[in-house]
Assembly symmetry: C2
Homo-oligomer: 274 residues x 2
């Protein structure tokens, strides 16, 4: 899959893995969030397009579930996403989906020094500077993750009887909220997952954490994200996403914008009243 | 100030300190955020009212700056907030404002076992169950804070050269975002600030942190907050606040709601385009 992909002969493959296999239980189960349109474009299309249009990304793998697979394949064709090498099935948990993609890349024979960027499809507005930041960080680090500084004071708690009590309050400049992509040299993320697999108690919810916990000597760099790189989790996120899409796409006519805003916020209000 | 305030003879005073002395540098400097109307009511009025209408709160102190002081006094009179015992000037930093209020309470002779709830005026939508949760928690603990569970994975970082790298990834169920009120037995918060004062390097941004850092053997309980208890920091928060105000106040007529939404979102869009 990679022979035709290198930007220059000396560069390594840069593979984006777009995870679109979630079932979105906090969203509407009959209306998969990956396929919802914001700003006139399906969420999964926004996400794939972000990597498709980055000239440094050489290959894209999309991971799907049975509910959305056919439609995602159709959308990839319809949008002419030429870097998508495979659409593969995910697993029960997020980490199973990541591991399916990593196994597929291993079977395809990609080198250990390849750069792999793992991205949640439901973060449609990832900025090009964050993608580039990941690719650059991997020149210096084996692992990196996009994150934003926390504007709230974070409290770390522990259980005291049936109550949570504060254990520590970390300094705010050292508290970040993880986003995606999360980026790794291929050999590093494979090794981290191999170690995690031998631990029956480990159920990773995050790829970065697998490296932090199982390769503790491997520093993971922070790459600047943006507040607009939000994760669409519930229906209440859709009006926010519409606002961001509008800002990115530029102003429509006054009349179009008005009509759209009405529809969007009417829906949002309906949700809030439920 | 407290002789007439106890709900029952055996109960201790429950004093709310509403901090409205911030200058809101990330907001509009000429338009103090405490005085902005959302849902037809000034933000500081929402905040004071939350404590005024709680039957267990006996006294309220409001801390102001010179820019907003006269208008806050006028609003307190206009709204007939009978529990407000004093409107006092704040200081340069948030902790100076807290300490001014604590000194005023000490001068008034309130007992060490009094319950003091310190609240940011720019969190207008604090829920009654959170206020009650603080008051109840202080029966069992010397300190408590309202907080919400973090929905994002939190990363704790350290500096490596000019980069931030991840130090640890705490378990998500033990990560919370601090809100207010933050609640203390009066003697406890006084003692914590007395200790902090003797440390020239300490510039607390948060009252809870003063207890966590200077009275490390004093557990601080977590009291359930809500996502709607947001802190209004930038102009972009205003449309979100309007939505919450609308939900709390109940539906207006269809026409009123339409007109208002237009105005709010038109403003929000203007801000986003700047």
């Amino acid at each position: 899959m990679c022979e035709k992909s290198s930007v220059s002969p000396s560069s390594v493959p840069v593979v984006a893995v777009v995870l679109a296999a979630g079932f979105g239980t906090r969203f509407d189960p009959d209306n998969p969030k990956q396929l919802v349109s914001v700003g006139g474009k399906e969420i999964v299309v926004w996400s794939i397009e972000a990597f498709e249009k980055n000239p440094r990304v050489t290959d894209i793998i999309v991971v799907v579930n049975a509910q959305v697979g056919d439609e995602v394949e159709r959308l990839i064709d319809a949008n002419g996403f030429g870097k998508v090498r495979a659409v593969i099935p995910g697993g029960a948990e997020r980490s199973d989906s990541t591991q399916n993609a990593l196994q597929m890349l291993a079977d395809a024979g990609i080198p250990g020094e390849a750069k792999v960027l793992i991205h949640d499809a439901v973060r449609p507005f990832v900025e090009q500077h964050s993608i580039n930041g990941c690719i650059d960080a991997l020149d210096e680090f084996e692992a990196a993750t996009v994150a934003v500084a926390s504007t709230d004071t974070v409290l770390l708690t522990e259980d005291l009887g049936d109550r949570k009590v504060i254990r520590t309050v970390p300094d705010r400049p050292n508290t970040f909220r993880a986003q995606t992509p999360q980026a790794f040299r291929f050999a590093t993320i494979r090794k981290a997952y191999a170690q995690a697999d031998s631990d029956p108690d480990f159920h990773p919810t995050d790829d970065t954490r697998v490296v932090v916990d199982y390769l503790p000597d491997t520093p993971v760099a922070i790459v600047a994200g943006t507040e607009t790189n939000l994760k669409i989790t519930t229906l209440a996120d859709i009006p926010v996403a519409e606002n961001i899409a509008e800002t990115i796409s530029g102003p429509r006519t006054r009349e179009e914008a008005k009509v759209r805003m009405h529809a969007v916020f009417a829906d949002a209000f309906k949700q809030m009243r439920r």
